[in-house]
Symmetry: C2
Subunit: 409 residues, 2 copies
């Protein structure tokens, strides 16, 4: 039984230049943390990610949801978590502040993720193990599929999972091999050309076969120059992704994306405003076969559905610490599987949680095991930091979702 709730505002200033992109010159990676303390002594930890200012607002909103969990048994809660999620997401007065987006939805992510963490810890297994052991029906019971009825009914979700049962045991091999990673830290926005070049070499030497550069400069020439530097250092066999962090207008994006095709990007990420579904659809059509990646700032399953329906996204970057937590992440992953679009999460959690979720997506849904973003910034703050060897995530073995923070333990 959950007997105590703790909410913590955890902020971690970064080193100079690290984490910078075309919007965020000076981010403070922060977590709005929910701890659910069970009478068995287990502590379920979940969080949402923010960039500093306003992390306290998410904490306050998380407290509103979390207090309603006091006295609940975690197994009983998770047996029908879809209904709990739906109730929280539609709390009649709070809903106005979204609905299903912004501060309140980030808060829901924090609380939802704490529930899953507690669930896995009480069962004494890593989250990936808990999730991959669930039956299709048990998985569907954790999901809120409302407003997806035109694309994914409860029955269709169930069938999708059942149809992917056969290959499951083969796909379990990924547990031994580990999930491939890609390096986001070669080219933060404020890094000099020289530093980008040096980081590329280092990433290649470490075994990464994919890496990402921040673009979206006011000076398109800078973007193009730096993109070619990365291609030069990486060679033709390595996947290079470009991330514009929403800096372009649609007319600008149409032009510069075509210019950038000369260095053969694997994807172009967040070219323009994350709410502009039609602009992404127009752009995707114009620059095919180059693909767009998006989702870092998309708050819920309904908007993802629209992105998938318009064929705008070549890759979906849903983030379980941005949408309403693990439950909605799985919902969006099911939608993507239906549309046959790969899920490559943005990792506001620095990969701690998502290393579990991509294993689940691969094993239970048959999603391709493409690669998972790797950002090393907060390693020293986690009790069980991710382990990357030869550019590959080593499968975590500790019970829970790997989200425990040292400062809160």
């Amino acid at each position: 039984m959950i007997k105590k709730i703790q909410i913590n505002d955890a902020r971690f200033p970064l080193g100079k230049g690290a984490g910078s992109d075309a919007i965020h010159r000076d981010p403070i990676y922060s977590y709005a943390v929910t701890n659910l303390i069970d009478d068995s002594g287990h502590i379920g930890t979940g969080f949402a990610f923010t960039l500093g200012e306003g992390n306290d607002l998410v904490c306050k909103a998380a407290a509103f949801y979390a207090k309603q969990l006091k006295g609940r048994d975690i197994e009983e809660l998770m047996a029908n978590f879809g209904a709990v999620f739906n109730q929280f997401a539609n709390e009649q007065q709070f809903r106005w502040l979204g609905p299903h987006k912004g501060v309140v939805h980030l808060a829901l992510a924090s609380v939802t993720n704490a529930c899953y963490d507690l669930w896995a810890k009480k069962r004494g297994v890593p989250l990936w193990k808990l999730l991959t052991d669930l039956t299709p029906q048990e998985i569907v019971n954790t999901l809120d599929l409302s407003y997806l009825e035109d694309e994914l009914t409860t029955e269709q979700a169930l069938h999708l999972l059942q149809n992917n049962q056969p290959g499951k045991s083969d796909r379990f091999q990924i547990i031994e091999k580990g999930y491939p990673g890609y390096d986001t830290s070669i080219g933060w926005f404020n890094y000099s050309d020289e530093k980008v070049r040096e980081n590329c070499r280092k990433a290649v030497a470490e075994g990464f076969t994919a890496m990402k550069l921040k673009v979206g400069s006011a000076d398109p020439e800078r973007d193009i120059r730096r993109a070619h530097i990365v291609r030069e250092e990486a060679g033709d066999d390595i996947k290079v992704m470009l991330d514009a962090n929403q800096q372009w207008t649609l007319p600008q994006a149409l032009k510069i994306c075509k210019d950038l095709q000369s260095m053969n990007p694997y994807w172009i990420e967040e070219p323009t405003h994350p709410d502009d579904i039609l602009a992404h659809a127009t752009l995707a059509k114009a620059i095919a076969p180059t693909k767009l990646a998006l989702g870092e700032h998309v708050p819920n399953r309904i908007i993802f559905k629209n992105y998938l329906q318009t064929g705008s996204a070549g890759f979906i970057q849903v983030d379980a610490v941005r949408v309403g937590g693990i439950s909605e992440f799985i919902t969006v992953s099911l939608l993507c599987r239906k549309f046959n679009i790969p899920v490559v999460p943005h990792v506001g959690d620095m990969g701690q949680l998502h290393q579990h979720l991509v294993l689940f997506n691969h094993i239970a849904m048959g999603h391709e095991a493409l690669f998972l973003e790797h950002i090393p910034h907060l390693q020293q703050h986690f009790v069980h930091p991710v382990k990357i060897e030869g550019g590959v995530y080593k499968t975590p073995v500790e019970p829970g979702s790997s989200c425990d923070l040292k400062s809160l333990n």
Copy 2:
């Protein structure tokens, strides 16, 4: 010069049943209020609307923006408010909490609206007068048109306003005549059939020529029965609008909207989730010529642009206390004018502010003077409550935007 900032969390419990809809059984109409106190003694008041719980979060976020206005001169600020809005909306760490939606965007509305109110008070004129006296260039300077470049450039916005200058003096007649209202209070969700019937008669007797019923019940028969009660009492000449408050799935909406066509609704409002642009487009096509009204929960100009581009909306209900305040309301109204779609605001402000804005939309942009929602709930709390006579809003004459609250004066 702005020398002091006050933020107030103002909550007003309503009478039994009032304000209820298919989602909100027990709302507490609340305002996150920003007061900007000028060294001339003027107090600029603006607010965002919420339904109670979480109003404090909006207040906290408003304080973050408002403190940055200390020491600024209001005329200097408003001469280039578009740039100020853009800067606030993209505050690098805070932006993550939206972007441009949820708690932070509601907070921006509160602060923005306080700026406009102070501006009008210092000039000693009602807001509608200030706005209609601005030149097209001065209006455009107050707007942030970023991410609209594919539909409305700065130059196009300017031309649109200039092209509507000729008929302006004729349209000023609305000031004398007053702007028509429609009655939202006949059919709140929790009212009995008898109360709905009685309220209809009262509204007709008071001179209203348009009124709205809440639908979206779990029991479609209830909706259909009540809709026909209203039509019966109102007769064929009165416009009757139906508001589902997002309660239907797309498959449900496709069915029930067709059933409801038998009572000839003037519009059907918020049939499904406010983020589901494509569902609205599908539905709009299926039930034409019956039109959809939407926008009460749409947070920003970019999503409105997508709704307009897909032809989903017959009426746009942008609310200046939900989007980023008056500035973004005007931006959305310009977009609507371009697409030739009427603006019929949702009035989270109880019409206090919007009575000014619809006059401006009509006079400066040539929008049809259709009608403005009227909700009488908070009349006793405003210093200058709206005046409705014979179903028509009397044009306000006091300086400012009519948003002063008694409790804070």
